[in-house]
Amino acid sequence: MARRSRPGEGAARPVVIGVAVAWLAVALALPFASVFVAAFADGVPAFFAALSTPEVRHAALLTCLAVLSALGFNVVFGVVAAYAVERTRLPGRGVILTLLDLPIAVSPVVAGLMFLLLYGRQGWFGPLLETMDVRIVFALPGIMLATIFVTLPFVAKEVVALLREIGPAEEEAARTLGASKAQTFLHIVLPNIRWAVFYGSILTAARALGEFGAVSVLSGNLIGKTQTMPLYIEQAYVNYQTTAAFAAALPLTLLAVLTIVAQKALARLGRRNGKESR
């Protein structure tokens, strides 16, 4: 009787597993497998030829720069913002936490539009930027700005969750023992939150790598100038260069897999180190 008491035992078991496996196989595994097949549809030489054009190389460079700028900015911003929200008596903390979620909840196109309204030629700061001869929209800074915005919450949210979980006891102890604020931050807070920062960085990199909507609004998609990898893939596909599109998609897909593997490994490592219960 006790054995049958839990719902989902007995006859339901194979059905639930079957439905779950079938759903993931059709909806996830099939698209995943088809990337590899399509990339090599015209043979291995065609795959490498498609990847070594100047357009692809330039797009890859821009995507790298966008990822690096998002990582650099958001690691610093995320740690500072999370610390401010969790450890200081900042007014409006709830509002800040909600606003922090906005870049994830808003459509990337809307995100791009926001920055266009600020920094575009007719935007709020457009005339000022023009007199200073600085270009943001339709140039590299626009791509970086868009990428930083859409990945803004990832590091911050991970660090907020961790700071809340470990509580301020260790930091208070250090302060009582005479450590300065800076020393406490360097020797207590930073080592404690490092797994959360790594984890958030992986999420940031994964999202930055593939950002499409916001970047396509802000970059102008000028081939060989402001075209990132995702924009190149779309353009190649629309122009019926299917093999070229999938050839460029393959490295991004492999990087996506790599970020998932890194995520799982880091979660395991963090758990072993006891601080993070992920």
Binding site: S5, P7, V16, A27, V106, P108, L113, M114, I233, E234
Partner: protein
């Protein structure tokens, strides 16, 4: 970084004047685009809530070969660039693709059904990842107690398990909805962007920007922004509710 861009949208939209603003959201193309985005996102969020809960259940309650691979696979739509998702799904569903070639009814690229497939794909992980930890923390004692008191498995599920999962499922639903409604990269590729048929609201914003109709774009964007903020507020409420009930 967040407040200033928000302010720019609101000011630009309010500068448009009420009648202009109304005209630019109430045209047939805009209405159809908003309808497809919001209706489609509701539908795909519902599908993902049901399927996501089943997947989470299988991952938490059962042991079977390939489980950890499945668990990793769930995150793929988060990690995969949307443009890659777009070209992949578009190929699969094209008349010569693996799926589209099976039966003409399955050749869904350039149709509203294709838009729904793309929305479902990109928002798939949310419900699984929201329900999974709650299901894990559910204490077996409660279910055993219910069973000892004479509840049948179906009753235990309906009266004990489902109520505890409710907040997590709704949170997953809301996140999934927010992602689907704003999805651009995969949808712009698979849909062909046919006005009155497969054109979604984010694509319409993009097209209006390309035509230098900044005001028209901003008005639609304001509607979408309001929807995002409402969704976030709903998620905030749900999380507070979950916090109170432990």
């Amino acid at each position: 970084m967040v407040v200033l861009p928000l302010a720019a949208v609101v000011v630009k939209a309010s500068g448009a004047g009420v009648s202009d603003a109304l005209r630019s959201v109430s045209g047939p193309i805009a209405l159809s685009a908003l309808g497809l985005s919001f209706g489609g996102a509701l539908l795909t969020a519902a599908v993902n809530t049901v399927m996501g809960t089943i997947v989470a259940w299988a991952l938490v309650r059962y042991e079977f070969p390939g489980k950890s691979l499945m668990n990793a696979l769930v995150d793929l739509p988060f990690a995969l660039p949307t443009a890659v998702a777009g070209i992949t799904l578009s190929e699969l569903l094209s008349p010569r693709g693996w799926v589209g070639a099976v039966h003409p009814a399955l050749a869904a690229s350039f149709s509203p059904a294709g838009v729904l497939v793309a929305m479902t794909f990109v928002s798939m992980p949310f419900v699984v990842r929201a329900v999974q930890p709650v299901l894990q923390q559910l204490e077996p004692e409660v279910e055993e107690a219910a069973a000892l008191l004479g509840a049948r498995p179906r009753q235990v599920f309906g009266h004990v398990i489902l109520p505890s999962l409710r907040a997590a499922m709704l949170t997953g639903f809301a996140l999934s909805f927010a992602r689907s409604v704003g999805e651009f990269g995969s949808v712009v590729i698979i849909s062909g962007n046919i006005p009155l048929s497969t054109l979604t609201a984010p694509v319409l914003i993009f097209q209006r920007l390309e035509e230098y109709d900044t005001v028209g774009a901003t008005v639609i964007a304001t509607v979408m922004l309001a929807a995002s903020i409402l969704t976030l507020a709903a998620i905030g409420l749900l999380q507070r509710e979950r916090g109170q009930h432990g």
